[in-house]
Symmetry: C2
Subunit: 227 residues, 2 copies
Amino acid sequence: MVLVSGGMDSATVLALARATGFAAHALSFRYGQRHAVELEAASQVARALGAATHRVEDVDLRSLGGSALTADLPVPKDRSGGEIGHGIPPTYVPARNTLFLAYALAWAEVIPARDIFLGVNALDYSGYPDCRPEFLAAFERVANLGTRLGVEEGSFRIHAPLLHLTKAEIITRGRDLGVDFGLTRTCYDPDAAGAACGRCDACALRLRAFAQLGLTDPAPYQRRAGG
Amino acid sequence: MVLVSGGMDSATVLALARATGFAAHALSFRYGQRHAVELEAASQVARALGAATHRVEDVDLRSLGGSALTADLPVPKDRSGGEIGHGIPPTYVPARNTLFLAYALAWAEVIPARDIFLGVNALDYSGYPDCRPEFLAAFERVANLGTRLGVEEGSFRIHAPLLHLTKAEIITRGRDLGVDFGLTRTCYDPDAAGAACGRCDACALRLRAFAQLGLTDPAPYQRRAGG
């Protein structure tokens, strides 16, 4: 079971899981995100990397509000590297990874699949509490206490293989595994055609990592005014 | 925040939360349960007990399968008291409480509400792993590690005030608090009109408790053949 958002990190995780020999079931969520273009990217990524199935679940987080990713709040732009990752930004979505993991757990128990992969990382990240190792460990405990499979066979594992990698290391790892990053979408605030803004935190981290490696990001970006 | 299923236990929990002085936000789920009549009961219970709001969320657990409550598997009937609660029965729904609590957490964080109540109990229960105290403690830890409010103020609490009560004690408590159990629906396999079967585990536990107290259950039951 691999949570696939359509972004760079989860694509790399899917490739890693496949390379390790797992049959992969990809899971994505239509949760009211303003960047729903990522779901089309998720489908393409799942197909390109040989996922056995790809499920897109509807979970309404938009009507709850509370986040710049689902509500009419501005997405921060043009923040410096020093600003990103300090404090929890308005793009935090309340309890998103808890909810996504809970649904993944339900599906995993039915399949059954004991290994749940997700692409969170704790370096070069946006400061979200539900991307931290202590959160993942706590959720793994919930999985093994709160399910039939967990209680009877005690074996769910939450895998976050990118947890301690930088974005540049993730790109390198993904390229080695044949991930086509041109299919992935990272931007929090893309235009209607799916082109990235280049200015939100997610774009900034991604562009900086490609630049560090001396590479050009193959994903489409909006032309800057006058650019 | 009170998870309200439409059953006896969650109605009593809602009454307890209100009696303790909480403004209550009631949350129910349309998850593909065959006993969706409970959602109408949940609305009536929420209204009767003065919930400030009542939200019904759609979460598709039916298409996952794996449970007699959501799939075309038979609901066990006519099991003895000794059989009920030994082993996890087919009415177990994979990761249901994890998922419900995850959604409750997302909504609670937005409100914000720090107290999440649910009506699980570990006596006279059906043997579900996600009704046990160790599961609830693990989820509380997830809530406080995986959310902004939890990290910044560390204060989510999962309340399960019925955890150590028998069903008969729950009825007594509920009656003291003015719960109209005639509004509540417990049956896993009701008929189209919402009348209870009287024979599934949930009915058996409920009927036994009313009988222990020398009371008649005010909820509607199907007439037995020849009865």
